[in-house]
Symmetry: D3
Subunit: 314 residues, 6 copies
């Protein structure tokens, strides 16, 4: 080889998340024995306002090297307890949105087939849909915790397309990837174009916790309701970094003032302890809008919280 071909470069040529070993992607069963697999998805073709989330995996990989194994709150030695490997970045054709979804779903399915839990680093939130499809294909209808400033249940009339980063939850609901009443939306606060937009997910029994309600109820109270409601169901977490306030996460394409603090975000994920986490994504980090990498550091910390949840069950 002279220079690595694109696919090879995306898979093997990336600095690993959390200084983890890389899966041997030339092996027939690259994820055998892994408890968790991290995948980067450098795709932002579904962005409606400020693109750039395609570079989030690179930025988060870089800063995640500062994270160590021992979790001081859960008191668990995450990377010694859980066999986590880096599956590299998914190799994507950037201009064919349908193919993008197919490729992502196939990659996540491969992780699940190996018995490992996928931790996906977007990219924009478009990538959540194929992840949810793969995970629901394996585990059946899911409980989904959706942390976001926005509903993400837009219809095709808004931007003239049925698929983009404002739509994954709509498809997940209509495709029955989510069990009725098991979509928990946390961090909502953006204004809407039409009064009825808020009703779509509610029509599927979604529990919607806007920031104003969260402030009245407190995070622990919310967590208690979620833990009780989800119970033994397989749980998928899709975390849009814009759920967090722009002060803590300036590096995102559609910021909305008045969001979660970094501490609330971490506390929230820690409080999911005991639930059966079967997959997670962190999306919408846009490094070119970040400052001093604080958004990427936070995204790495959120992923680490997810991995810690998984390690507690390992």
């Amino acid at each position: 080889v002279s220079q690595l071909p694109a696919g090879e470069y995306l898979r093997h040529g990336q600095t690993p998340f959390f200084r983890l070993p890389q899966a041997d992607l030339h092996s027939p069963s690259p994820y055998a024995g892994a408890g968790a697999v991290l995948l980067g998805i450098p795709y932002d073709g579904g962005t409606t306002h400020q693109p750039g989330a395609r570079h989030a995996p690179a930025a988060i990989r870089r800063v995640s090297g500062l994270v160590h194994s021992y979790h001081p709150v859960h008191q668990v030695d995450v990377f010694r307890k859980l066999t986590a490997v880096d599956g590299g970045n998914v190799s994507l054709p950037p201009f064919d949105a349908t193919l993008v979804r197919t490729v992502i779903q196939r990659e996540v399915a491969q992780v699940l087939e190996a018995g490992a839990t996928p931790f996906v680093v977007g990219g924009d939130q478009t990538v959540a849909l194929p992840c949810l499809r793969a995970v629901a294909a394996r585990h059946g209808p899911l409980a989904v915790v959706h942390v976001d400033a926005h509903f993400d249940t837009s219809g095709p009339e808004v931007w003239g397309d049925a698929y983009h980063h404002g739509t994954p939850l709509r498809h997940a609901l209509t495709e029955d990837l989510i069990e009725r009443g098991q979509l928990w939306q946390v961090g909502l606060r953006a204004s809407w174009g039409q009064p009825e937009e808020g009703a779509f997910a509610a029509g599927y029994g979604s529990r919607q916790v806007g920031m104003e309600a969260l402030e009245r109820r407190s995070v622990p109270e919310l967590l208690a309701a979620i833990r009780l409601g989800v119970g033994e169901r397989p749980l998928y977490v899709t975390f849009d970094i814009d759920a967090v306030d722009p002060a803590f996460a300036p590096g995102t394409g559609t910021p909305v003032p008045g969001g979660l603090t970094s501490r609330e975000a971490l506390q929230f994920l820690r409080g999911l302890k005991g639930l059966r986490l079967v997959g997670m994504d962190v999306v919408e980090v846009c490094p070119v809008l970040d400052h001093a990498d604080i958004t990427s550091h936070l995204a790495a910390a959120l992923l680490y919280e997810g991995l810690a949840l998984r390690a507690l069950c390992a």
Copy 2:
């Protein structure tokens, strides 16, 4: 026309706030039928430390396009309920401070004469004085909520001039634009040069709520006091963005650590629901110091809260 003359460019050549229609400023009664008029005032000639607030209207106009009509907390369809129009930027001679005040006062008076509520986007806080003069001329002595890290009641001895961005509240008090006991100062925390500086406004019965007191009392408790105290009086809100902590609002010229969070700022404005809002300004946003537009996004959100208050009464 080849190129628009300066005045025309400032009035008709600006991207509208919140994607609103522009008032037809060539008409004899441009604001007829409007419930609210937004005016940009690109003036920062009264800045003592870091200038640049003259560019705030442009920045806030640009990002405010992301705000939609339906308010999820108040459950009001703001721009369908309230006829809001953009009056463009006020055309100012930049080097004659006295004339600047005259022009602003005249423009705001024109809005009021049309029966509309003025929402003013500074500029530095110098612009609050002519706004208050115009509003008080119409409504009589006002109740004023002044959200700020600083008193803004400096005397001429400090900078050798009686008028600049540290003085508008002093003039408003001495000119009886504010009803005695009806100045509510929230967010105060900057250190002072002389012990007695804090006493000026207090001498007029001002209620001063420093950050440390706010923390002890909570925002809802403060709001209850303000609602009770203001009652049916006409209320003007002047919001200096430096009341908010620099983490949430780095784009301002005289930042003071330890301020409001974005959520407290939004919650505070929402809590004025029910009061009779007759005018509002948001000032001291300095875009050149901002990062990823987070300060401008917040300023747009604060204006939207003011408009929502007005819509609730429409």
Copy 3:
């Protein structure tokens, strides 16, 4: 109206380029009488590396207000000599690349039908193809000056798609939009993946002037050759800002060190005086990567040079 609908906002809600009057787009013949029409195209769906050029029209509109009418080198009063109007931004569906090209071509054709010269502000260089299609449909095969660090003649094998910002010149050549021997590529310097990539355009008689050759020959010598070669042919200029060195134009998605200086770029356009300019675009400005707007200022200056060329013939 409460808030402007998207299309209306893109057309009428933008700060005008160069403080020009806006075309009345509600009129049946909005461009009647215009000598030049400026169009923004906020599209970057064809970007392979760092997206964000969708925000270039807004940034260039904003800074172009500092440009005045009288051109000191050509000694022409550009905006008094030439009736230039702002046609707003083209309203695009962001996720359907085929439709995007159709819409752009239709808009540019409308400008041409009115007898005006289109000046297009991208967006990524994908937008050059539909512009070339519209202009060639009216004027026949064109002479094209292509200022760029890259060939932009990639085939579908590189990114798995026949249309993106690395391909417009390939299509323009194969569709005979360019007269054989009349593609002038200036500023080339990026390394290539395969030796044969350089041969594609050359096979159509393209004249390729890499930076190293330009340095040996000087800009005036190059201009003499172009003027002689183009003669009376209709000339289209497509200017990728990455032709300029990153020091002068940091705000672009695929920077290549060693490019044109700002003075060479301006001198080059000035030297096209006397040729028959029938259209021009400036593309690949990515504001989020810019600093102190220097790239946007340069892009505005380049557009102004194009307008001056057109004014000289008006």
Copy 4:
């Protein structure tokens, strides 16, 4: 003199902290009569990740000019009550870490000998060790409040050196500079490499208050425990700015999401009122990573709180 020699430039050529008078360092007893002396230490040779804290004294000096004398919460006229002087920057040889520690210790000792309280502005946290040595040499074993995201008790095995910014507290404990049971560590939250790392300081009776515990207990409750526990002991505060969340303090080399807010940090220092403060440092501000100086403004505010504590006892 033509240009000032390096040492002279560092001592006399710096803009003074808080607009204070400079000590006459050519006098034999430069600090005579001073109640507090501020010293800048432009050293970051002990940084493990992102260096640059050497420029913190310059940045904090610059912004501290905005701080005024009267403290609105403590209601004390700080700089009129307390005679504070600026001792300039310590003149350091940048490449000899052992000599650096010696020089710092000597300078701080000189301040103490004059009966003044040292307020030290790092530099990285390496500088805390020689400060503690000097202060303990005068006052005996100390009570130390260590505000930090990290333990700073690393052993030599981590980076192959016994002295760097991750080690000062280890040395302070082993050298008995801190009274057993009197190390109060606040703000801890970073993950560790090995489970046992948390145990080192605990083995010396350190009280460790991680962010998660702080959230459960509240700052006032923590302060009550510290005030009770410290009592009449001489108290030294070493404040690593990374204890604060990156949203409020992005300008630091090893940021950890989930930290103190600026208000908690200020409230915490205010709550030490009544204790016997014998020295303080603020370290790890890295201006090149800061935005709009917000980290430097906060560091200046923290120093001012320390000075106010000292003024209350003056």
Copy 5:
């Protein structure tokens, strides 16, 4: 003293330019024996577009510490040959433009009375007028080299005021501060509003060298003409940093693409060797728009070139 009063802080509390000793401003003849005096003028009240030049003295002071005494091209040991002292910043009332001009003129006159050459660091170019008044008062009508992208001869009709940063050369011409035919304007390139604007200075015999002419003639040829034309006359240099291209000097308020390179700027000043320099200013550096201090570094280098010219004659 508790905190230094404003005036004292501006004069004695600044990091000195080039690590020079500070003049003892409490002495009755503070500049006695000095060959050159550097003065900062933190004023930008005459800015028409982006203010912030008030902070230039602080930024240039800071970076000028990296400049050493020995000049490698002129082979002169600048600060050993020339007794240069720092006169601090001029203490200005920020809101009274007339008084500002008076104070500046008085300060510069004081330098001249001591027999020293003033080197002034703006501030916006408004400050050039009082400098020219003071220098012409002492030396009679001057030869002036004006390096700038703009004419700076605007009349009061443009911004409604006769005095601001676009006017100093107009006043200097009409007040006969400049000998007829001895205004040399270099770097001109900005477009104008009206064709006749270029004629004002030309009517006084000004020699105007636009960038396009400079490119044709070369810097050495231009210098030969200036040296010949100026001869033994007293020469004042006013250097607006926007003469330099934004790539080399992004930190300025009204950037114009296509300017001098840093090397041309330095070469130009070096080429004034042998002329009788009686004063110089460097203006319009706006640090908040700068990146990595490159504009401030260049401004310091330009001042150093001026000092070297003076040292050659010392």
Copy 6:
């Protein structure tokens, strides 16, 4: 393994330069068969002003992925002609400068023993000394092209230490690593502290080409002299990015205005064609001071030019 140990992470966990394959560093002869080996050296412990060059290998690795194999000027397919591999980053103890030099020298020696040419990416210029030691140990006294704004021949009296980034050429001369008369210093322009500093290298027959001389002579003339003078000697190139003007390379710790353009820098390296290149380093890139990665892109381009020179001889 849970997380990679530090050494392993530095060697195998880095995104490869230029998308090259990584050497198998677990093999006994990792560089067997390679024509060129790239090594990152993340060390900046020898920096006197602004540190941060330790992060240059990561930044340059990241952007170098945009460079392709075929060189359009030399018309050589670099990475197909030359077997280049990535040797990872050298694993360094950050606080022991002596050990750092030993480790670097050993690593470079290992590359040379395998018959490959080392291409080293600093770090600060301290790293050039051990590289020169290793290369001279193999090839005997070298011809050295030193591109830099500074002499780098400081003695220990300047910063109190004999080894830092201002000293490597002094040691290289005194240790006879460089053949007498074969040090070619290009780009010099910084002012010096003492007149005699320029004489040190000259005393060893160094040819010093300051920027001012370069401008008079042109790059091709200089290259002719170097080619003639070096002849068949083994040539080492040490390239300090601060030789380039800050406009093109803002990301460096001690910028000096008036340097090389990016085109001159590239042209200069291309002109070394035909000489026997035995090693090269590119140093002093400081990413935290960079903007839009333009300095890193340039550094990658300079390395690519070096690799192309080597490929031409492969």
